[in-house]
Symmetry: none
Subunit: 223 residues, 4 copies
DNA sequence: TGCTAAGCGAGACGGTACGTCCCGTCTTAAT
DNA sequence: ATTAAGACGGGACGTACCGTCTCGCTTAGCA
């Protein structure tokens, strides 16, 4: 749970309830005050302990908050309905999910501090960024396998486009509507889809309840 | 130059050399230490003055650094060579320029602090973000006028795509190569261009020295 | 009224209402907050003016407060009832009077600051100390003339004894009772009176209403 | 050594060298600049530490200076030569001693600040005032036991007279000469001695080397 | 009576010192 | 041996007040 597990051979065992108390205090404080306003002093106070007890477990504020965040963010599962358009729309939501779970301003302030250390930056990426990318990457792979995306389309670039757009809009307070997402998908798929028109038709068919016999949402190209 | 200019009716006039000294000290310190490590104490020390003299001019660290940054960032002019592909490639550079002028980590830490106040956030946007967007927006308008972009293409969305991609890649330390930019442009233009193939051909022609008679770089659609 | 009268040749005349307002604000603040807590800032605020207006009239806090005090302390008149014991008892009250008019702690803090400049010290003496001494000195002279005190008694020493005792006891918060004063007088007069016993008898006679025919309170030595 | 010793159970022990450095810096600064000009900032600077380190030990300037003074003032021992006049003369010196050890203006400014708090005032009394009074009180008791002072003489009053006279004269810059002291003693003893003339004769005899057989300085009354 | 310049009012300046918060570390006692 | 927790030394904060400077206005005295 904590970063600094140490040798843990002999000696007095660490109080595991303190781990929990500290992490919970951290999360509450993060919600209330944000990252910059969060002081270890106050975390210790709320956890009913002292600052050294925190430092013994984490190297500082950033690693502590990363640990705390990790207990709350859950690993997203890749959308895979067979409808590429729907899956992509859902993918936007996956990227948005982190910002709905943790205050975006806190996330950004945290990353600003993480940037100063390669390890922290990597840890932030693994904890906050990658899970969403991994899930959406899987979704894109499915779409490609399904034949909806061109084989030669740069899927990492697509990931970057989606992830960055969501990040940018959230960061600057311009919330991304479903419609925004839809139109963004259109732009991207025009460049990446084998047949964008077909994807669109299939999606509309779904909305109208015209499902395939087998109940899946495959897009029938050249059908 | 400073934020707190106030009424400035009566009273002893402000020493303008101090303004300069403070701003310069701020920029140097920003380059050396980044935003989080920048303290008003040290700024005052280097500027040969005292903290209150700074507080009299700026409300705090964030506004001070914004002012300092503003003296260094220059307003970009919109690329307009007639070659849409070239212009767009150049547009990526415009968005990158700010990060080359000011340490990206400093910019992000600064924005993290600005987020806490609507005014500061707005000020950051005006100072750091908008100039690039404005320039590139103009470029897109030219391209549209030229008939290279579809009339109904969402130009603000294009701006968001480009700006966010650059921001995201820089933020996470994955520097954007020229090739990356080129391929991103391809993806975006597939969705937004009237005739992407024609744009590509024109661009290649230019590289090979095949200029039009009139020396401009018009794209001849359907030519 | 103010210290710095200046050349006063041409130019805009000084607003005399400001003098008054400043002095009154000073006295009020002195009563409320004492000397150390009294700031020119606050005086100016209460007087509805600015600090420079004060500095134009007085060289600083100490001279200002001295001026303010001077408007309140009135010159005591020397006790002269003919009864030396009574007059001396009254003399103690004269020395006490200043401390009843102005907070003793304020007076002492003021003097502590005055000590740093010979002129201020002198001014303090003239304003606060000397008036009482002058009055009591007169009283002692009358007693001597009356034949109650020895010609060769050191009257300045007596003044010092009385003044210092009062100052010391007030300073250290041990208020001097009438009885204390009476017994102090006894001690001093044992050393300074021509015939202490006679003075005592006379005083007691007065209390019992045995006045001389002429209504004065002469002491009849050798009577 | 410092005021805020607290429980001192657990926790990192205080650096005792800092205590010393701070106190020494305080004394030096007190000698150089006086009390009002003494700033904790400068004390910290000279002691090579920071202001918080001082505040951790003392509640402010006054308690700090009181502690510093206490390290320099040594407890006077009561004069007891057998010659009451000599002892009293020496008693004046005891009261003067504090003012010779610490700048009188500093002492007074310090007391002016102490007055604002009962605890500080008490502490000042205990540190600066009482030691001298205690010593001289003892001397007076010896004189009484010896039969030189009247049993019913108010010895506390005598203490007040001597202490206050010294304080007053020093305060107002009128240094007390030996002769002044002698004549003051005369006045006081006229009121308090059993036989002032005999005390005087005894004292003069001592000056001329006429000691008693047993080498003590008894006063022979009625001899 | 109109002009000039001295002096006034007030605002704001540059700067010192304040008392506090929080950091990251050290130390003792307990487990 | 290692914990829990108190306290330490210190950097930086934002503020109050100081004493001074500058401005624009008022007014006396001269033309």
């Amino acid at each position: 749970m904590s970063d600094r597990t140490g040798t843990r051979s002999g000696g007095r065992p660490r109080d595991p309830q303190l781990d929990t108390a500290i992490l919970e205090a951290t999360l509450h404080l993060l919600d209330e005050a944000g990252y910059t306003e969060l002081t270890l002093e106050e975390v210790a106070r709320r956890a009913g302990t002292s600052r050294p007890a925190i430092y013994r477990r984490w190297a500082g504020r950033a690693p502590l908050v990363l640990s705390a965040i990790a207990t709350r963010l859950d690993v997203p599962s890749p959308p895979d309905t067979g409808c590429t358009l729907c899956d992509l729309a859902e993918s936007f939501n996956i990227f948005l999910a982190a910002y709905r779970t943790i205050r975006p301003d806190a996330l950004n302030a945290l990353y600003s501090e993480c940037v100063r250390s390669p390890e922290l930056q990597e840890r932030y990426r693994r904890t906050v960024v990658e899970p969403s990318r991994t899930a959406v990457r899987r979704t894109l792979e499915h779409a490609t396998a399904r034949g909806d995306l061109r084989e030669d389309a740069d899927r990492e670039q697509l990931l970057d486009f989606v992830a960055s757009l969501v990040h940018y809009r959230v960061l600057f307070g311009r919330h991304l509507s479903d419609d925004d997402a839809e139109r963004a998908i259109e732009t991207l798929l025009r460049g990446a889809a084998v047949d964008y028109g077909a994807l669109l038709e299939h999606s509309e068919a779904l909305e109208n309840g015209h499902l395939d016999d087998d109940g899946t949402h495959h897009v029938h190209i050249g059908g």
